[in-house]
């Protein structure tokens, strides 16, 4: 039951095969029983969950059920939840009880979903392995010695291990897509501006986007119907209509043009990954899609640009953590300087400090033009590459990750190696485009993912293609043993 999709569970609820309370209890029980192995949750909200589940059952009895009513969900601990601890995976917010709900949380509450708890993550969303959490690392359900990916590692692992049928994550440089790929589930980074950032603790404001994890593209479409939409509280939220993402899932893909960036399919690509992606491409061809080569000539500069822009924005976004109004405060500060310096040094982990320092440097006098401004210029080039490519194709396809999950601790020593594994995902954030990761097979027993990149605000097409792929493969039905 715990590996059923949302669509299937909604059906079961509708047909009274199970109640929302029973379903919720089932997941909570699983978490209590198995999560020590994965460490995917930071906070479980059992009492509140059961109350919500009860309400959902009552609503259903009165005929007010909607597609997501009574379905359990876990939120990445980056989304503010009113009255509930919101830690962002950091000591700095270990005792922070959010005084309001993020818009995304409100949306899912209104849709009738049952929040099981808050999931573990890389501190302040900085990381690709969930090894940077104050609450300890998260493990990959497919092999406990391996990382689940990050920064939304907890949310991905929870869905992969059947602790929740759905979860939320955030993606700044790949933090939804990469863990989705490494954990063998489906994850979407929406177009920048599609999902409200209000209440989503900021890392890099011009790159962050919240998005859903689930087992299938269909489930992701269901979740997006609730999650997408204009929010007047977010100045970067775009006021354009939200389509019904489920309505177009089954559209025939004949004639759809799929672009393969030649830069992504060079000799450097792991042959096992390459083979799985080629298999996927063949499936699309068989369904009538047209495959074309495209070029993204500046894509190799995504990493360099990103590792200036994201740290720069974060260095400013994290300046509010100063021990004055909320969060961690050092003991007995002797003066203001001491308050700031010790609070921030003790409250932040190494990776966060590293990025704050780089970001501060990139913005500092004399270096702004060479780093920050330069990175913004590169950003335009990368974005323009996509615009050019999309003139001749509808969707771009690539691997999500160059290789399956790596072992815990393997890349922790040198941050640069970690940064280099984001090569397929980062450009998408810089260009603000939507990106979907689908489970596409296994290499050495560990999952890898395929990425579909869409035009701005065209989540419908990539979800359509994703659903089609999942009609012809069963990777998304595979589950890890041991749970």
């Amino acid at each position: 039951m715990h590996y059923k999709t949302i669509a299937q569970l909604a059906n079961d609820l509708k047909n009274k095969v199970i109640s929302s309370v029973e379903l919720t209890q089932h997941f909570l029980q699983r978490i209590r029983q198995h999560d020590q192995k994965l460490n995917s949750f930071i906070t479980l909200t059992e009492e509140a969950a059961l109350i919500t589940a009860k309400k959902a059952d009552a609503a259903r009895a009165q005929g007010f059920a909607r597609p997501l009513t009574g379905i359990p969900l876990a939120h990445k601990d980056i989304f503010c939840t009113d009255g509930i601890k919101t830690s962002c995976g950091s000591k700095m917010l270990d005792k922070f009880i959010a005084p309001y709900d993020a818009t995304v949380v409100q949306q899912f509450n209104q849709a009738g979903m049952v929040m099981l708890g808050k999931t573990n993550m890389d501190e302040f969303a900085m990381g690709s392995s969930n090894e940077n959490s104050f609450y300890g690392p998260v493990k990959n359900p497919w092999h406990l010695d391996y990382v689940p990916g990050g920064s939304s590692g907890g949310s991905a692992a929870a869905v992969a291990a059947g602790f929740a049928p759905a979860s939320t994550g955030t993606d700044t440089g790949g933090s939804i897509r990469q863990p989705a790929a490494l954990c063998g589930i489906t994850g979407l980074k929406p177009t920048y501006g599609r999902v409200s950032r209000y209440g989503m603790i900021a890392f890099a404001s011009s790159l962050d986007q919240g998005g859903p994890f689930a087992r299938t593209a269909e489930d992701v479409a269901l979740l997006m119907n609730a999650m997408a939409g204009f929010d007047p509280k977010d100045s970067t939220s775009i006021d354009c209509p939200v389509p019904d993402y489920t309505a177009t899932l089954n559209h025939p893909i004949k004639g759809l043009k799929i672009g393969l960036p030649k830069e992504y399919f060079s000799e450097g690509l792991n042959p096992a990954v390459q083979k799985l992606i080629q298999d996927a491409i063949k499936i699309y061809e068989a369904q009538g899609a047209i495959i074309k080569e495209v070029a993204l000539p500046h894509t190799h500069l995504s990493g360099p640009a990103y590792y200036v822009l994201a740290p720069a924005e974060c260095s400013s976004n994290l300046a509010r953590y100063d021990g004055v109004r909320f969060g961690y405060r050092c003991e007995n500060p002797v003066n203001l300087e001491d308050l700031y310096k010790r609070t921030r040094s003790e409250g932040f982990g190494m990776e966060v400090k590293r990025r704050i320092l780089i970001g501060t440097y990139a913005l500092s006098a004399g270096f702004y033009d060479a780093y920050y401004r330069k990175a913004q210029q590169i950003r335009r080039l990368i974005r323009d590459d996509f615009t050019q490519a999309f003139a001749s194709v509808d969707v771009i396809l690539s691997p999500t990750v160059p290789a399956p999950a790596f072992k815990c601790g393997e890349k922790a020593k040198d941050p640069l190696t970690m940064y280099l594994s984001d090569i397929y995902t980062i450009a998408v954030n810089l260009a603000g485009l939507p990106g979907l990761s689908l489970p596409a097979g296994f290499v050495d027993g560990l999952p890898i993912g395929m990425q579909l990149i869409g035009k701005l605000f065209d989540e419908s097409t990539i979800l359509n293609l994703g659903h089609c792929y999942q009609q012809h493969t069963d990777w998304h039905t595979r589950t890890p043993g041991g749970f």
């Binding site: 775009i238 500069l301 360099p304 590792y307 590293r354 320092l357 501060t360 440097y361 210029q377 080039l381």
Partner: protein, 95 residues
């Protein structure tokens, strides 16, 4: 570009982060290598390229000048580290 320990200390001060001597050495190496990585950007001439802040070209939305927030001081101050008489406390600020 290689950073000097002095530069790292200066940046740390701007960011109000305290670094031990060992930290300084550690970060000097790491930050220098990250800078080396990002400097690949210099391979491309961008002199005629305008910086891009957001992926879409939309103007800032304007909000009506109407009060829509109520006083929630008690709720907000419940989570504050140090308050007295409704004020947030910090070590004495000398101007």
């Amino acid at each position: 570009m290689s950073l000097t320990p002095e530069a790292v200390k200066k940046i740390a001060h701007l960011a109000r982060i305290e670094l031990s001597e060992a930290d300084v050495a550690h970060y000097t190496t790491q930050l220098s290598s990250i800078l080396g990585f990002v400097e690949q950007m210099n391979a491309v001439d961008t002199s005629k390229v305008a910086p891009l802040s957001h992926s879409f070209d939309m103007p800032q939305r304007l909000r009506a000048d109407v009060v829509d927030e109520e006083n929630q001081r008690d709720k907000y101050q419940q989570i504050a580290p140090a308050v007295m008489a409704g004020l947030y406390l910090v070590p004495q600020v000398i101007e």
